[in-house]
């Protein structure tokens, strides 16, 4: 038997429960969701199989793969499956494949099983979703199935973790088998295919007919084949007059002919088979011509109400808490530069971030509930026609909705969109959806500029403005998709064809964990960046080239010697900042941002926020605390409200400036990670640069219009 490390791969139809099983076995937390196409790349983990007395435990490396209906990929994410399974040299090539099958739809799920079987890879069949099958009055006889398919069959429930022991046992038995049972092909090649198969087998030293057929059909997808090898295969196809499409259709039908009698023996049904009762009932409302949109609008309303209204209570508490903490530290440490850096710089910056924990937590929890319940798939259906008008696909809804949390994972989910054109458009416009990092900026500027009043007695005006910004982002995304679609040629046809999963109750533990994870990474990631930027900014703002800062101070003192001491102090602090490295830098870009209403101080924050948007608020805190002379601890909001425009003597943050900033951040692509992920997903700099140029222009022009109209 094989000792040491065993490699196991999870393969199965989309939404069969592979990632849930992966999590149950490895204890990891892969993303799961109740719609097809959640997993878009391979992910590895490990677990152990306890050995019988005296032997070492077996270590297993488990690979979770994207779901596929067959081994012939239809979209980008699905290509990775065959790239591994067709290449025994691949580091992830499995010793055993665990095929996860949705028992409530066994016939279709077995198609993939028969294909993997014919590739000659040892496998174990895991029957999942038996509870769903039961609610459809189906009973599956695993023993019967095992006998007919000639493979170990295990009953599991990936959600509750039932059957894991049996599954591990079955994997172990397959690995420990001393002799490989003779392969029984489910698909027998036709006479006219045999010549071609034999020639490919000989050239590539293969011993399996079906693998040879895969070389013929799929060599363009195989990253392990060199170009000349592919060309030779093309020549063979030509020579034998092989018709790929015809072969594929015949193969699939032939397989189902074999599967049908097996399933009808192993699966017994009481009465007519129907989808689970609640799924039918809910769909009759949620997919209804009229009620479908009404309920979707209600869902969105609840989401916004939750993010803005419900979150405000814990947010107020956190706000008060950080202010008190800063006050305390300020008093406890000796006064000086270090004290200012810690309190006004770092603590204020971090405080500006942790206040958003409640909103981030609620946002991620609600998105998780939408995904886990199965409603996301229905949203794709009711939005498909609308999306198509703009050159997108109903499936684009998933990236757009998860883009409200963060654009980086959202852009990765586009891999399940089969049309490359629609996928590209979706990638290009997803950053327009207002992500959670924009929330701090929106919230602070709204708090400064929008009064805390209600319209019609119920709608909070600040909430409405926030809603408006999100809506603007969505409209910007759709409009941009339409505009870009005019310039990007569409090459292939577009498909929708989406399986509707049965509704499932979200797992609350899972939702809670998603919340916890998102908050943790938000605080840690943002915290790190803010810490670094605060320190760098502090240094750049506290020192200037040569003697410039002292010269500036002297000038102020001499020119203002008659003014009251307080005014002199304020003017000195401001002059020193202006002549510092940061100030000079801000001055340098000021001509560019002046037309949209910003001064050099905002310019510094704008530049700093290129690292990550959430830095904006912290940077403003740092800059205004350095330039301010006030001894009191002020929140960022109070500082912004008090800031005076040195030229007009009036307020700096007028409605025109605030709205211009808001609009700028709705459209601007201020995020290094997004640029990096677009680069990775589109394999080059072309699209991220086009996107950056387009979004920056859009942001600048819109901010310009808003500022000029309002001022």
């Amino acid at each position: 038997m094989k000792q040491g490390n065993i490699k196991v791969a999870l393969v199965g139809n989309p939404n069969a429960g592979k990632s849930t099983l992966f999590n149950a076995l490895t204890g990891m937390r892969q993303k799961t969701g109740n719609f097809p196409g959640v997993t878009v790349e391979k992910k590895s983990g490990t677990f152990r199989i306890a050995a019988a007395n005296g032997h070492d435990d077996a270590h297993v490396t488990l690979v979770d793969l994207p779901g596929t209906y067959s081994i012939y990929p239809k979209s980008k994410d699905e290509t990775v499956v065959m790239d591994i399974l067709a290449n025994p040299q691949h580091p992830d090539f499995p010793d055993v494949v665990v095929i996860v099958a949705d028992a409530s739809n066994l016939q279709r799920n077995l198609l993939l099983f028969t294909e993997i079987n014919d590739l000659g890879i040892p496998s174990v069949l895991a029957l999942n979703m038996l509870d769903v099958a039961e609610s459809m009055n189906l009973t599956v006889n695993a023993v019967q199935l095992a006998m007919q398919l000639n493979v170990p069959v295990v009953r599991i429930n990936a959600r509750t973790g039932e059957g894991m022991k049996g599954l591990k046992e079955a994997v172990k038995q397959v690995v420990e088998r001393t002799e490989k049972p003779a392969l029984q092909y489910f698909y027998q090649p036709k006479d006219n295919e045999i010549g071609l198969i034999n020639e490919v087998k000989e050239i590539h030293h293969l011993d399996n007919d079906y693998v040879a057929l895969q070389y013929v059909c799929q060599h363009d997808n195989f990253s392990f084949l060199e170009q000349p090898v592919r060309a030779r295969l093309d020549a063979l196809i030509e020579k034998y007059g092989f018709d790929e499409n015809n072969f594929l259709a015949n193969e699939t039908i032939a397989r189902y002919e074999k599967i049908k009698p097996i399933v009808s023996k192993a699966v017994k049904s009481e009465g007519a088979t129907e989808q689970p009762y609640w799924t039918r009932k809910l769909d009759s409302i949620l997919l209804h011509r009229v009620w479908g949109y009404v309920t979707f609008a209600l869902v969105l309303l609840v989401v916004f109400q939750a993010i803005f209204a419900w979150a405000s209570y814990p947010m107020d508490m956190i706000d008060a808490g950080t202010a008190a903490a800063i006050e305390w530290v300020k008093g406890a440490l000796p006064a000086g530069v270090l004290n200012d850096l810690i309190t006004d710089g770092i603590m204020a910056g971090i405080g500006g971030i942790i206040i958003f924990i409640p909103q981030i937590a609620i946002l991620f929890a609600l998105v998780a509930i939408l995904e886990e319940s199965g409603y996301m798939a229905r949203v794709m259906v009711i939005m498909d026609k609308l999306m198509r008008r703009f050159g997108l696909n109903g499936r684009s809804v998933v990236p757009l909705i998860s883009g409200v949390a963060c654009a980086v994972p959202a852009i990765m989910t586009t891999r399940s969109i089969s049309s490359r054109y629609e996928r590209l458009l979706t990638i290009l416009v997803t950053p327009l959806m207002s992500c959670s990092a924009r929330l701090p900026i929106y919230a602070i500027l709204i708090a400064v500029v929008v009064p805390e009043s209600k319209v019609l007695g119920i709608f909070n005006v600040q909430g409405l403005v926030l809603f408006g910004l999100y809506l603007l982002g969505l409209l910007g995304a759709l409009g941009s998709a339409w505009l870009l679609s005019l310039f990007i040629p569409r090459k292939e046809p577009s498909y929708f064809m989406l399986e509707m999963p049965s509704y499932k109750l979200p797992r609350w533990g899972h939702v809670g964990f998603t919340m916890y994870e998102s908050v943790k990474s938000f605080v840690l990631e943002a915290g790190k960046v803010i810490m670094a930027i605060s320190i760098i900014l502090w240094v750049l703002a506290s020192y200037g080239p040569g003697d410039s800062m002292n010269v500036a101070e002297q000038q102020v003192v001499t020119s203002m010697h008659t003014a009251p001491q307080e005014e002199i102090d304020a003017a000195v602090a401001s002059a020193r900042l202006e002549s510092s490295y940061a100030g000079q830098f801000g001055r340098f870009i000021e001509p560019v941002i002046r037309p949209i209403g910003y001064d050099w101080k905002i310019g510094i924050a704008l530049l700093a926020s290129f690292a990550a948007r959430e830095v904006f608020v912290g940077t403003m805190a740092t800059i205004y605390s350095i330039s301010g002379d006030s001894e009191d601890v002020l929140t960022v909001k109070q500082r912004l409200i008090q800031e005076k425009n040195p030229e007009t003597g009036g307020l700096m943050f007028t409605p025109a400036v605030c709205y211009s900033l808001l609009i700028f951040y709705v459209f601007a692509m201020m995020c290094m990670s997004t640029i990096a992920v677009v680069y990775r997903e589109t394999h080059g700099w072309k699209w991220p640069l086009i996107q950056l140029a387009y979004l920056s222009t859009l942001a600048y022009v819109s901010a310009f219009v808003v500022y000029q109209v309002l001022s």
């Binding site: 209906y69 088979t273 039918r280 064809m497």
Partner: protein, 82 residues
Amino acid sequence: MNLNKERMSARTVSHLKKGEKGIIKSFTDRAMSLKLLEMGCLPGCEVRLDAIAPFGDPICINVGGHYSLSLRLNEAAVIELE
């Protein structure tokens, strides 16, 4: 598999009314038929129209009682019924 191009007037899944059933006979588009076959829409299989999205497109059909599949009208028009 019989591909049927000439009889364009044949009844297809896109003609079904809500709740109406039909039996799949053949497909009129190669590329789409491959995907449909893989998803379990086989000749001889019974389908039923379960839901029509707002604006009339896409639709949801029940495939053999086993699961619900959502299709655009132009995709449904590829599936000819007996």
